[in-house]
Each structure stands twice: as C-alpha cells, then as structure tokens.
C-alpha cells in the first residue's frame, strides 16, 4: 500500500513543475497581466467606487498610508474627488482594447505583407519593402498627430495609428523567416505537386511563423500600452468621459503642485503592466524563438 506517494511535498511540486515544463515561468508577471485582464473585463462592476463619481468634498484625499487617507479610496482621489483605484481599474479596459485590436490588425497586415514579400520576391518584394521604409520615415507620433487632425481623435484613431506604425516591423521580420522557409524541401514539393498558393501560405508557411508572430505580438503589448497612454495624454486618444491611464495623467498634470498621487498612481499602473508584458514576452521569446533575441 505504501508506494511512492511518500515523496515530500516541495519536491513533488518541483517535479510536477518540471514535468509540466513550468520551470522559470514568470508567475508574478503573468498574475499582473491576469489582474489587468480581469479589471478590463469587470470594469465598473468590480471597482469599489464608480470611476466617474464626483465628490468635491473629498478632492485630493491622499492614499491610505498617508495622514488623512481613507480605506474607501486606498490610492487617494483626484482633483474632482474621484477614486483613483476605481479609475485605474476602469482604465485597464481601454489599454486592453487598444492592445488587442492594434496587435491583431498590425500583426495580420504585417504577416501577410511579410509572407507575400518573402515568398514571391521580385517586384512585389521591392514594392512592399519600399513601403516599409517609407512608413518608417514618418515618426509615429507625427503620424498620429496628422491622423488625429484629419480624422477626429478617439479610440479608433489610436488603433489605426498603432496598426499603421507597427505593421512594418512585423513585415520585415516575417519576410526574413519566409525567405528561409521558402527554400525548404516541403515547400518546393508542395509547389511541384501543384498545391495552390493560398494553401501553401496557410498550411506550410503560417504554422511555421506562428511562434514568431506570438513572440512579436507579446513584445508589442508593452509598447502599444505606452503609445496609447502618450496619445491620450496629448489629448489625441481616448476622450472624456472614458477613462484611460494617459488621460488620468493629463488631468493630474494640471494639479501637479497640489498632489503627487494622481500623477504617480496611474503611471505605476502603466509601468507594472508594461513591465509584466515585457517580461512575459522575453520569456516566450526565449522558449519559442531564441533567435529573435536581437529585438
């Protein structure tokens, strides 16, 4: 009856983690990202207070650990007495939405362009790579400014700008991958066997670049969140009454001499999220695609 269950607890756990390949997993970073996702999904429903609830009597209430702080508003309140914690939780939604759509959009445009460029070569390659270069000759904030001036500023503009900025980055790297994939025998055989181009793209190229795409997308999350915050801070991104971390900072900036917490807290949220996304991205890259380490 007494068989191998006698192994001590910690070692069992260690073995289990090793067996499942969970060694070196950045748990804290993953946990932070999960928390951001939960806040984005839950929004107002799980926030302790309404993010837009004004209470002028409680304006500039400091965080709980400072004199005059209150547990009702653990991170303090802003100039209109709005609860910073609830606003940060609400602001997670915008960051997640922008990151999601922008990455899907830029990733798919970039992957398609890169695959076409690498696979067909010749004129198409020259054309697409020239486009990549031209795209990279306009600073992305400048592109955002002129787009915001032409269209109206808002969530869609932010997503379009980020997609327009980052597709070139994907295209360049995917092209490199496809250039080497194209010379593999199975691609050549498929072509000789008369397999259609679309099938070659979907069945033979795409599965091989999925890892790269996943790594690039994770590494992009942090940058997208920073970019969205910058645009919203300038007033070109998300507009009131929507809550966004960048917008919170732009509000807080006018009262910088009054209180430090409305500046510090949303920034910390941005920093923690980006840090976690970058750590997870690095970890994925090392596991899935170590040759991308130069990025």
């Amino acid at each position: 009856m007494s068989v191998s269950i006698a192994t001590p607890g910690p070692r069992l756990l260690g073995r289990l983690r090793l067996a499942l390949g969970l060694r070196g997993v950045p748990w804290i970073a993953l946990l932070v990202l999960l928390l951001v996702l939960i806040c984005a999904a839950g929004g107002e429903a799980i926030a302790p207070n309404d993010p837009n609830d004004l209470d002028l009597g409680a304006a500039f209430r400091p965080p709980v650990f400072e004199l005059g702080g209150s547990f009702a508003t653990p991170l303090g309140t802003d100039n209109l007495g709005r609860d910073l914690l609830s606003r940060i939780m609400g602001g997670a939604r915008v960051s997640v939405i922008v990151a999601f759509y922008a990455i899907i959009l830029s990733g798919s445009i970039g992957a398609l362009a890169g695959m076409a460029s690498g696979y067909f070569g010749g004129m198409i390659d020259t054309l697409i790579m020239r486009l990549v270069e031209i795209q990279q000759s306009v600073p992305s904030v400048a592109l955002a400014l002129i787009l915001a001036a032409a269209l109206s500023p808002g969530l869609t503009t932010v997503i379009v700008v980020i997609a327009l900025t980052y597709w070139a980055w994907y295209a360049r790297i995917i092209r490199g991958e496809v250039l080497s994939l194209k010379t593999r025998d199975y691609v050549a055989y498929a072509r000789v066997a008369g397999v259609g181009t679309a099938t070659i793209f979907l069945r033979h190229l795409l599965p091989n670049i999925l890892n790269t795409l996943l790594v690039l997308a994770t590494l992009q999350v942090g940058q997208v969140i920073l970019f969205e915050a910058s645009l919203s801070f300038l007033g070109l991104g998300v507009q009131q009454p929507d809550v966004s971390w960048g917008l919170m900072l732009s509000d807080a900036r006018q009262y910088i001499t009054h209180a430090w917490w409305p500046i510090t807290m949303p920034g910390l949220a941005i920093m923690l999220t980006c840090l976690s996304a970058n750590i997870v991205g690095d970890w994925l890259r090392d596991r899935l695609d170590p040759h991308l380490r130069q990025l």
Binding site: Q135, A142, L151, I256
Partner: protein
C-alpha cells in the same frame, strides 16, 4: 563609396517623397478643406471659386503634384493661428527641438556607454544585474510620466530646477533626461552585447597576453570596435528622440516643433501640421542617412565592402 553614397541619397529621396504622399493623403482624408476654410453660410459660387484656386477640382495626382511643387518651394500655406507662413514658423522652432534632442541623446549615451561597458567587463556582477533591472524598468515607463515625476521631484519637492520653460542649461536638464530615458535600456543592451563579443576576440586576448593595462584594452581596443553597432543605431535613436519630443515638449512647455504641431492640431491649423510632420520626416531620414554614411568612416571594412 561614391556609388554607395548616391544609392543612399536616392533611397532617402524616395523615403521623403513617400512621407510627403502619406501626409498629403491623410490631409485629404479630413474631407473638403474648403468647408473648413469658409464660413458655413458662404454662397456656393465662392465655394466653387475657392476650390478652383486651390486646384481641388483637378484629379488627385495633379493635386499631389501641386502640393509637392509648393512644398519644394517651401510653401505650405499661411498658418491660421500664428499668422505667418507655416514653414517659417516650423523653422523658427526647429533649433529648440534639435537642441533638446541632442541633449537627450547625450544623456542616454552618458548613461548607456559606461553601464554597458562595465556590465560586459564584469558580466554577472552587480552593475550588470542592476543595469538589467533598470533597463526593464526604463522600457516600461512612458517618457511623459518620467517627465512628470522629474518635475514632481526636482522642481516641486526639491526646487532645484525650473519645472518648465526655455532658457539656460538648467531649463534643459529635466526635459533632456525625460527624453533620453527610454533609449537608455536598448543602448545599454547593444553596448553590452557588442563589448562581450569584442572581448572574446583574439586581438583582445593578445593584448591581455602582452600585458597592456586593462583600462587601455577596454576603452581603446575593445570599445572602439564595440561602438560601431551603437553608431549604426544612433540615427534610429536620434529619430526616436524627435518622435518623443512631441510629448516631452508639451510637458515642459518647450518652444519646439513638437509642441507647435500639437497646438496646431488642436486649433486645426493644417498648414502647420503638414509642414511640421513633413520636416520631422525629413530630419528623420537625414539623421539615418548621415549615420549610414558616417560609419563607413569609422569602420574601414564597411567602406571597402561597398
């Protein structure tokens, strides 16, 4: 070498041309500019007349040609807000932006080069580990937040430096740090890995065997080789500084191109936006071009290959 220079010049010209096309197409996205320029109750005949003088009744390609010809003559139109030619306004503000970008670049180099070199020399040591933590943190902090924190600490709490404005060196310090903060991480990483590569080569090992002082080996023999990858990236970083200056200039009320363009966007001053964005692109391309041409002089091997 001449062929290489000519090819790079040609590519630069095409990039700028492409940038002008992007600017033009996006400007036209906003719809009919005449509607914005005339009062809402303007008679149809004057709308028609203005469209003809602006060439808006012409085909798209001809319109782009007209835009390009005017842009080449430096004519982007009159700024509605500042009441002066848009390009002249931008050129007036340009020196402040360049000054800030150069200062930011100096700051990041001053941090990245020593940290990168020391991290490589004692890799695994505490400088290396601290440097890596700082790099992770730096890449997760938006430039404008760094700027706000700097104002909060050094201008408001400690009252050491002015919070905003333009003037002497003390006005330059905080914006330069805010602008130079972000690239430090990437630059350190480049210096570190290049140094690690160079330190493993035979000529360094030979120098060690000959008993040349370590300081001389590191800075004279190793770093000069390791600086090439950094130099090739310098154009990209200078360009990134120009991009970052839009936000940093707004925070520190720095009278440069970035803040001007942001203000122009909000007052829908289109000529200024066009002139600003296009001149930013031109500087972007020029910076990369200069770097491409210059590393031929630093590393003769590259020069000979081309």
């Amino acid at each position: 070498m001449t062929r290489f220079i000519l090819r790079r010049l040609g590519e630069g010209a095409i990039s700028i041309l492409g940038a002008s096309l992007i600017v033009f197409v996006i400007s036209r996205l906003s719809g009919d500019p005449v509607v914005l320029m005339l009062p809402p109750d303007a008679p149809a005949s004057s709308v028609q007349a203005l469209r003809q003088t602006l060439g808006l009744d012409q085909p798209f390609v001809i319109q782009y040609g007209m835009f390009l010809t005017r842009a080449l003559h430096g004519d982007f139109g009159q700024s509605y807000r500042w009441q002066m030619p848009a390009l002249r306004l931008i050129l007036e503000r340009l020196p402040a932006t360049v000054q800030l970008a150069v200062a930011g670049l100096c700051f990041s180099l001053c941090v990245a080069v020593p940290v990168g070199v020391f991290s490589a020399v004692n890799h695994g040591g505490w400088i290396d580990r601290m440097g890596r933590i700082f790099a992770m943190l730096g890449q997760a902090m938006p430039a404008f937040w760094v700027g706000l924190l700097l104002i909060l600490t050094f201008a408001i709490q400690l009252e050491w430096l002015p919070a905003f404005g333009y003037g002497g060196i003390n006005h330059l310090v905080l914006p330069a740090i805010a602008l130079g903060w972000y690239p430090v991480a990437a630059m350190t990483r480049i210096v570190r890995s290049a140094m690690l590569d160079v330190l493993n080569t035979d000529h360094i090992r030979l120098a060690r065997a000959l008993g040349i002082p370590e300081r001389l080996i590191i800075w004279k023999y190793a770093f000069r080789n390791a600086a090439v990858p950094l130099l090739t990236m310098l154009g990209v970083y200078f360009a990134a500084m120009l991009g970052g200056s839009f936000v940093v200039e707004v925070i520190f009320a720095w009278p440069g191109v970035g803040r001007t363009v942001v203000e122009a966007v909000f007052s829908r001053d289109f000529p200024v936006v066009q002139a600003g964005v296009l001149s930013a692109s031109v500087m972007f391309v020029l910076a990369n071009l200069l770097v491409d041409l210059s590393y031929g002089f630093v590393d003769p091997r590259i020069r000979d290959e081309r």
